[in-house]
């Protein structure tokens, strides 16, 4: 098992004829993702990397007999339209890779997703990868690198990884694999303020995944998702061990302007507040990023196996 993506899921690429869409289609297929089609308005009938291109998502959905996931590689200003098109065509999971999607667009996407019982990942996500199975987005880059970097699941010593930093998602997966741990799925939730799947939702998926033994997260200052995850641990909704690193401890004060609207969030959003909430909920919070692999092994009760 894995969460979010595996080799059985039917995936399409929106913006498949663009620079990134084209390159990522090739890399996703090379890793094992079942890419069944793509679309770019006005370019229907073309072929990219052996994948048929259609004008609309609805056409691809009809042709493929249903689609599980759409990965969006269109310019940021067009992301809202593309995502809503996919959701209205019946796609239940949309991945928004582009950076700089306007915040109010992201909120309108969230409203549309909620109304249609659909989920989205991102915006500004590097992607999701389930080693040995499939990848969506651009995480891992080349298939051969990704296969070499990330271990497939290993019974009794498999972690699920979630991160707010794209680069650090790969780094977490790589260094955990180096310590001899298996990886069920790595999920970069995205770096923006308004996101689709957040740590709490992803953690619940890991909780339900029989292959995942523990959850490792790379958190950051700001927002509330680490605290909400802590709430789930406290209430027993998440029972698997949680191992966390929170970045931004040394972030300089004063670069962010604080006013009443932010201050009344109390200690939510601060490094100290997040560490305190997670620790109080029974999570292991490490001080140095390099300590994550050892802490994950300790939480699982297994030895570090240097590879």
């Amino acid at each position: 098992m894995a969460i979010i993506i595996d080799e059985t899921k039917k995936v399409i690429v929106q913006g498949i004829t663009g620079r990134e869409g084209r390159a990522r289609t090739r890399l996703m297929r090379a890793f094992g993702t079942n890419v069944v089609g793509g679309c770019t308005p006005g370019k229907g009938g073309q072929e990219v990397e052996g994948v048929g291109v259609h004008d609309t998502v609805a056409e691809v959905v009809a042709k493929a007999g249903g689609v599980d996931v759409s990965v969006v590689f269109v310019p940021a200003r067009l992301v809202k339209g593309a995502t809503i098109e996919a959701i209205e065509a019946g796609v239940k999971l949309v991945m928004l890779v582009p950076d700089r999607v306007p915040l109010w667009d992201a909120m309108r996407i969230a409203q549309c997703a909620a109304a249609n019982d659909a989920e989205f990942i991102g915006p500004n996500t590097l992607g999701v990868i389930s080693p040995g199975r499939a990848v969506i987005g651009m995480i891992g880059g080349r298939a051969d690198s990704a296969k070499q970097w990330f271990n497939e699941p290993i019974p009794g010593r498999t972690v699920g990884v979630m991160s707010r930093s794209g680069g650090m998602s790969s780094s977490c997966g790589y260094y955990l694999s180096r310590a001899g741990l298996g990886i069920s799925t790595i999920c970069h939730v995205g770096g923006d303020p308004v996101l689709g799947l957040r740590f709490p939702e992803v953690a619940l998926k890991f909780e339900d995944d029989p292959e995942t033994d523990a959850i490792v997260l790379f958190g950051e200052i700001g927002g509330s998702m680490e605290e909400r995850l802590a709430d789930l641990c406290l209430t027993g909704r998440v029972t698997k061990p949680v191992i966390a690193y929170i970045g931004g401890k040394a972030a300089r004060e004063g670069t962010r302007f604080s006013h009443a609207g932010a201050i009344i969030e109390g200690d939510r959003g601060t490094h100290a507040g997040k560490v305190k909430a997670l620790a109080a909920a029974g999570a292991t919070v490490v001080d140095g990023f390099g300590d994550l692999p050892e802490a994950a092994c300790a939480a699982l009760g297994v030895a570090v196996e240097a590879s």
């Binding site: 950076d99 909620a114 680069g167 040394a250 302007f257």
Partner: protein, 511 residues
């Protein structure tokens, strides 16, 4: 984030039908006197500055006559808050306030909706009363639920007669935030006057950086939150980013007070937010002062990385260059290596350089960088994903300890002598590609075809020419940079990509 001044926010509110006090912003004491006399003499003057506790810091003054207003304005315009000198003062009529409300629209990350924070006792001491503040979810398409807001008002001691006007004002504030795509919009306070009318007495707005492109009417020059007025280099860097959306490029200069007592001022070049933070910590722990933060990530082109390096090295007084990101980059790192190698070669780099290039194709990236920079006066070293930031920072210290008397002030851009003469040139986006055909031959041309990923080809006589249409060639800056560096590595520097940076190499607006 793009912050606006109080008077700009009030202009937005007025456009949506919310009452604001009569008055306007001025930049001189003369204008202040003029506005005060128009308003009947009795006015309040407020510095337009991004600070909290403006009143306690002396940024608000009351005047009873135009002459007094002139004097107050003169004082206020001489103030400075942090790195920001006061450039404008808002002169407004004085209000007779009966009730104050705290109204703030923020974005709730958990609910994924706008959230209205409302308190009918005003904003004073709001931090201590956080629990009492009503939090009302707002529909991103439908605005406020008027019944919810009415319920909060009805629990207050504000007279019933004012509630409809308050409801309308709150509705309009939310709509103002919506149409202008604000990340936060605070009216603190919204006031009920003695005559029962409702008015926005203050206003604090931050526009979503990513939506600024849709709002040219706001005149936001640089959509980024800085703790100082944007520097010339930050403006240059911001323009470069707007012109090239292949990957991310972020550049900000950092405060460097007291750097003389550190081990030196250095340029920092990160890749990815999370990894950059850890890398900055690592090199700061070695005792250096960072002159800047810079991030090129998200699969940036070689041209973008080249420009970022040039901007970093345009800073004065740097004695070293440290680059490091997440270390396990999904992007193919040789594009960055080519961009860096070009910048360092063009400048005849004399400062020590350590760059952690871990990630896809890291071996090739490190080889390109080190080989292409071998003949430079400064040591240039590349590292991989198994080299930790701390290790790279320690290595940087070793190189720095072995170097003295170098500074970025001494770096000048060297353009090959044959460029500009009879050499072949053709335009690309942001500049030109020059080829010294006199020194080309069929063997080299075949190699250049490969190095440029097929953008160049043999013209039939053994010399290189463009293999694609002009439009494709114009966008192939990174392929040409790769070719330039490979020619250099082969000891045959016959191709030069001239990408002058407006504001550094040539006047703004020129290319």
């Amino acid at each position: 984030m793009a912050r606006l001044h109080e008077y700009e926010g009030k202009g937005m509110l007025k456009a949506q039908g919310v009452h604001v006090p009569a008055g306007r912003a001025v930049a001189t004491a003369d204008e202040a006197e003029q506005v005060a006399s128009e308003l009947g003499g009795h006015v309040v003057l407020k510095v337009q500055a991004w600070i909290t506790g403006r009143k306690d810091k002396g940024g608000i003054r009351f005047a009873k006559t135009p002459g007094e207003a002139r004097k107050c304005a003169k004082d206020l315009l001489g103030m400075q808050f942090g790195n920001f000198p006061v450039e404008e003062v808002l002169v407004e009529q004085c209000l007779e306030i009966a009730h104050e409300l705290f109204v703030s629209l923020t974005i709730d990350d958990a609910a994924r909706t706008p959230m209205l924070l409302l308190d009918c006792a005003g904003g004073t001491g709001i931090e201590e009363r956080a629990e009492e503040v009503a939090r009302l979810a707002v529909s991103v398409s439908g605005g406020i639920d008027r019944d919810d807001v009415a319920a909060v008002l009805s629990r207050s001691d504000i007279p019933q007669e004012s509630h409809p006007a308050l409801l309308d004002a709150i509705d309009a504030i939310v709509e103002t935030a919506n149409v202008n795509e604000a990340r936060s919009f605070e009216v603190n306070p919204l006031v009920v006057l003695r005559n029962g009318s409702v008015c926005a007495a203050d206003c604090r707005v931050t526009i979503d950086d990513y939506a600024v492109f849709r709002h040219p009417e706001l005149g936001i020059e640089i959509a980024r939150e800085l703790d100082h007025p944007a520097t010339d280099l930050e403006r240059i860097a911001y323009q470069l980013e707007q012109d090239d959306h292949r990957g991310t490029f972020y550049f900000a200069q950092l405060p460097t007070e007291g750097w003389e007592s550190s081990k030196g001022l250095i340029g920092f070049h990160g890749a990815g937010g999370g990894g950059s933070m850890m890398s900055m910590d690592a090199v700061t722990n070695e005792g250096y002062t960072l002159a800047n933060f810079c991030d090129t990530s998200g699969n940036p082109s070689a041209a973008k990385v080249y420009r970022a390096a040039r901007v970093i090295l345009a800073q004065q007084g740097l004695t070293g260059y440290f680059g490091s990101g997440s270390g396990v980059a999904s992007q193919e790192q040789f594009h960055s290596a080519y961009g860096l190698a070009k910048a360092f070669n063009e400048l005849g780099m004399s400062l020590p350089v350590v760059v952690r290039l871990g990630g896809n194709a890291e071996d090739r990236a490190v080889e390109i960088l080190e080989d292409a920079c071998e003949g430079l006066p400064g040591s240039v070293e590349g590292y991989r994903k198994d080299d930790t930031p701390a290790f790279c920072a320690a290595r940087f210290t070793t190189l720095m300890d072995g170097t003295s008397g170098v500074s970025s002030d001494q770096l000048t851009r060297n353009v090959p002598q044959w460029v500009g003469g009879d050499a072949e040139a053709f335009p690309i986006e942001g500049g030109h590609v020059w080829i010294d055909r006199e020194h080309c031959d069929a063997v080299l041309t075949a190699q250049m075809t490969q190095w440029s990923s097929g953008v160049l080809k043999d013209d039939g006589t053994g010399l290189p020419t463009i293999a694609c249409d002009e439009q494709t060639a114009a966008k192939s800056d990174s392929e040409f940079i790769a070719c330039e560096i490979e020619c250099l590595r082969a000891g045959r520097p016959v191709l030069f990509v001239d990408l002058p940076i407006a504001g550094i190499d040539c006047p703004q607006g020129a290319n």
